[in-house]
Amino acid sequence: MWSFFHKLGSPPWLYAISGKILQWLLPVTLLLLAVGAVWGLLYAPADFRQGNSYRIIFVHVPASVVALAGYYVMATAGAISLIWKMKMADVAMRSCAPIGAALTFLALLSGAVWGKPTWGTWWIWDARVTSMLVLFFLYVGVISLYEAFDNEVAAARACAVLSLVGTVNIPIIYKSVDWWYSLHQPASIKFTEESSMHSDMLAPLLLMIVAFYCLFICSLLLYMRGEILRREGTTHWVRKLLLDAGDAHAV
């Protein structure tokens, strides 16, 4: 166990293993996304109340779920970086933020577009959308804090502290936004009524959630590889890797 953990901290090992994982995970992700999208768009039955507009759920919910999970991945990486001072955890944390922000953005946008046919307006202060907006700002905060520091190690530590504060806060924020929404707007149509969802709709939704998780992992690994190369640019193994790749390219 400890040796595995130790290996995780080694850039060359991580670079090599992530390459191997991506080789098969990337096609699997794309396949899952394609199958899920086609299933959701064309084969899942229409909702009896919302008609076809509900098909946005197959993008909106997976994006929201994975965006939220991404924050916890980021905070976990941050905690590891604070406790064990592991450089690769810094790399992972740094890479999570833009992915999470992009997914949150997608969730917000799809929520807004969904609002138009459902409520007749582009923006509704629904509990889920509002929480997503807060989450978006949490991600943007981490990214801007990282950029504001000159010293990269200090930046990573500061962001780790911030994301840990965020992890304590997110459940409180979500609960209070839920309470606030139930107070002001007794929901007539909720976006999602998981309990009453037909299994024909649930299956593609679950598939899409899995696909988005895979997408997150792929993107994270790809970002981390770039970040590793940038940081380890002067080391022997990167020199060798680059020169080999360069030679192969030239031939």
Binding site: V134, A154, A155, L162, G166, V168, W179
Partner: protein
């Protein structure tokens, strides 16, 4: 070598902060003046209709209190960082948790508490129904303490940055959301004639959590900032 007894250290730290603040008495009034100014802007912006003002009053009062606390928190550690007292503080054998707590406590005594005390005045100006006043004061009393604690985390993380300014708002305002919801919720409930006890209890819970955890985050933030500066 043993550390000084903790309580005297806490009180010495607090006394020093307050003494420093009272050497610049005008600065204590700044958050209050800010509060008054922004409260004045609302009737100008949304019209003087008393009914409308009364409806918006809980939200307005809470948002302005929130911004006033945030603006004051931004400079909480700035002078100490620049004159080097912060790095000396990190070198003392005292637990940093207590030092941070005393900084925040002083900050709250100088912003949150006065805001709470003058809030009824502004509430009357905004036509808030009188039965809501106790809830307003209690919610501000508890809520501004949470705001000070959480805001100080942002202040600690950004104190060494040259371009801190707006960044702290971006970092901290999302964390202020629950306090705002329950704070203004308490006042709204009371204004409608209901008991605001549940919301006040939630605010109390948030305060306990913040007292327990925030000083650690502040301490970590200060160490990082001194290190990078």
């Amino acid at each position: 070598m043993s550390g000084a007894p903790l309580l005297p250290f806490l009180s010495a730290c607090l006394r020093r902060q307050l003494l420093l603040a009272f050497r610049r008495p005008l600065e204590i009034a700044n958050p209050l003046l800010f509060f008054l100014l922004v409260v004045m802007l609302f009737p100008l912006g949304i019209g003087p209709d008393p009914r409308q003002l009364a409806e918006f009053a809980p939200g307005i009062l809470w948002i302005v209190a929130l911004l006033a606390t945030l603006l004051a928190a931004e400079s909480l550690f700035r002078v100490d960082f620049e004159d080097g007292t912060l790095e000396q503080l990190l070198l003392t054998p005292q637990p940093l948790y207590l030092s941070c707590l005393s900084y925040v406590l002083a900050h709250w005594l100088l912003t949150g508490l006065p805001l709470t005390l003058v809030a009824p005045l502004f509430a009357v100006m905004l036509q808030l129904p009188p039965p809501a006043l106790p809830a307003l004061m209690l919610s501000l009393l508890l809520g501004t303490a949470v705001l000070s604690l959480v805001g100080s985390i942002g202040a600690a993380l950004t104190v060494g940055l040259k371009r801190g300014g707006l960044l702290i708002s971006l970092l901290i305002i999302p964390f202020y959301v629950p306090v705002l919801i329950f704070g203004s919720g308490a006042v709204q409930f009371a204004a409608l004639g209901n008991s605001a006890q549940p919301q006040l209890l939630v605010l109390g819970g948030m305060l306990s959590l913040a007292i327990a955890l925030a000083p650690f985050a502040i301490a970590a933030g200060l160490r990082i900032s001194v290190d990078a500066g």
